[in-house]
């Protein structure tokens, strides 16, 4: 878009720009001719048209009869209006409101990387690749604790095929309208057992079954992945909520979503512990 033109149009009211746009575009169906339309504009609309034409040099005749010229102007006026909304404070506030309602498309979130990501990042997967997995995922999954859809700080899981043989798994935490990328792994796509139409949640389960270290929850049976666990935490209970079975494993990454009710009921979701040494050696990654 022509920057000079947009600056000039900035001085004009949004209502005038929208009004001219409506005249040119109708209800979204291009008219065979604008003859009779552009001759009868009100003064505000005329001002907008003059500003646009003054910069672009589009002739009135072109606008009346050329679809291409009209489409150019329609796009320009649309951009002027959408840019005013999408940038600056208005854009930030709209993004937050939409995220709060659960209406913000995953492609429109702001992205950032957490400190946790920096410490465990798999260097073979670049940040650009990680962001691409969020922007162009193969599959997404939003994990909410206790089925609370309105929970703003939920966890998102993404997968994307890096090649025929490798799949990228990524976890991000939603903080208002920002998705903070917190972990990123890769695994052979054969581990999905031919299920290309997988859910990222199941992909993470397969990943944990392969590279996870066994753990127990609240003294329970050993496992490598816990979808959901609920138990009552007593005040003087010394048992660890999540305990690693094999204490010789030195470097791990633990994930769990945790919530405690006012009555002391602990709810854990998606618990897994990655054995980092095993992950690195089995995927041939230097420590």
């Amino acid at each position: 878009m022509n920057v000079v033109l947009s600056k000039k149009l900035k001085a004009l009211s949004e209502d005038s720009v929208a009004s001219l746009l409506e005249r040119l575009n109708g209800d979204g169906v291009i008219l065979p001719t604008l003859a009779g339309v552009i001759e009868n504009l009100d003064s505000d609309e005329q001002q907008v048209l003059d500003a646009a034409r003054g910069i672009s040099g589009v002739l009135l005749d072109d606008l009346a009869h050329s679809t291409r010229a009209r489409m150019w102007l329609i796009e320009l006026l649309t951009t002027v209006l959408t840019d005013r909304v999408a940038t600056g404070a208005r854009g930030t506030n709209a993004r937050i409101r939409l995220a709060r309602k659960g209406w913000l498309d995953v492609a429109d979130f702001n992205l950032s990387f957490s400190d946790e990501y920096r410490s465990i990042a798999d260097r073979r997967i670049s940040r650009e690749d990680a962001m691409r997995t969020v922007r162009e995922p193969f599959a997404t999954f939003r994990l909410v604790l206790d089925g609370n859809e309105n929970d703003l700080d939920s966890t998102w899981l993404f997968t994307r095929f890096l090649s025929d043989k490798l799949i990228h798994l990524l976890k991000a935490t939603q903080v208002q309208s920002t998705l903070q990328i917190s972990s990123s792994w890769m695994m052979p796509s054969t581990m999905l057992r031919g299920n290309a139409e997988h859910s990222p949640f199941d992909a993470f389960r397969q990943f944990a079954e392969r590279y996870g270290a066994p753990f127990s929850i609240n003294g329970g049976l050993p496992q490598r992945f816990a979808e959901h666990a609920v138990f009552r935490k007593r005040r003087y209970d010394s048992a660890a909520e999540i305990e690693l079975i094999d204490s010789s494993i030195r470097e791990v990454y633990l994930h769990s979503l945790r919530r405690v009710s006012p009555l002391g009921v602990v709810s854990l979701r998606m618990v897994y512990v990655v054995d980092l040494a095993r992950y690195r050696s089995e995927t041939n990654l230097p420590a």
């Binding site: 929208a18 746009l21 065979p32 489409m71 329609i74 796009e75 649309t78 939409l98 209406w103």
Partner: protein, 150 residues
């Protein structure tokens, strides 16, 4: 995108242009039904839009026109007080979404008897050809089914 915007901002009431058949070109050429040209043929529009979305064609005229319609229409509704400032901003933000897949074509399958009295015949001046085209200004969500076109 259109379905989503109508659901969220216009009380799930839908403004649609429609044709009497999904693919007028497949009708017998002696009948008026076949006289709807490609630019108003739901199947052809769907095919073109699906291709545009698949190839990430940001310059697709159909998408530009629908986006322009929503932006100008929303501003008009803001001016008349139907939408609040915040609703206007939210709507415009959404039609500018980075997710281009939101523009993928979805065909509405409408049972004619329930909408017959509300069918508006499109004037010849804006109609693409000799075949009949209709508009419905207030289609309710329970009056149509959706069909993804790919």
């Amino acid at each position: 995108m259109k379905l989503l915007i109508q659901e969220r901002y216009f009380g799930d009431v839908h403004y649609v242009w429609c044709s009497e058949t999904f693919d007028p070109s497949s009708s017998d050429q002696h009948y008026e039904l076949s006289q709807v040209p490609a630019s108003s043929n739901p199947r052809e529009i769907g095919k073109a839009l699906a291709l545009a979305v698949l190839s990430g064609d940001q310059h697709n005229d159909h998408i530009k026109r629908v986006r322009a319609f929503y932006v100008s229409h929303a501003r008009k509704l803001r001016k008349s007080g139907v939408l609040t400032d915040q609703e206007y901003d939210d709507l415009v933000f959404q039609v500018k979404s980075q997710n281009f897949r939101l523009w993928r074509p979805i065909c509405y399958v409408i049972a004619r008897p329930s909408v017959e009295p509300r069918l508006i015949l499109v004037r010849a001046r804006v109609s693409a050809g000799f075949g009949k085209e209709y508009k419905i200004a207030d289609l309710k969500r329970d009056e149509f089914e959706t069909m993804e076109l790919s």
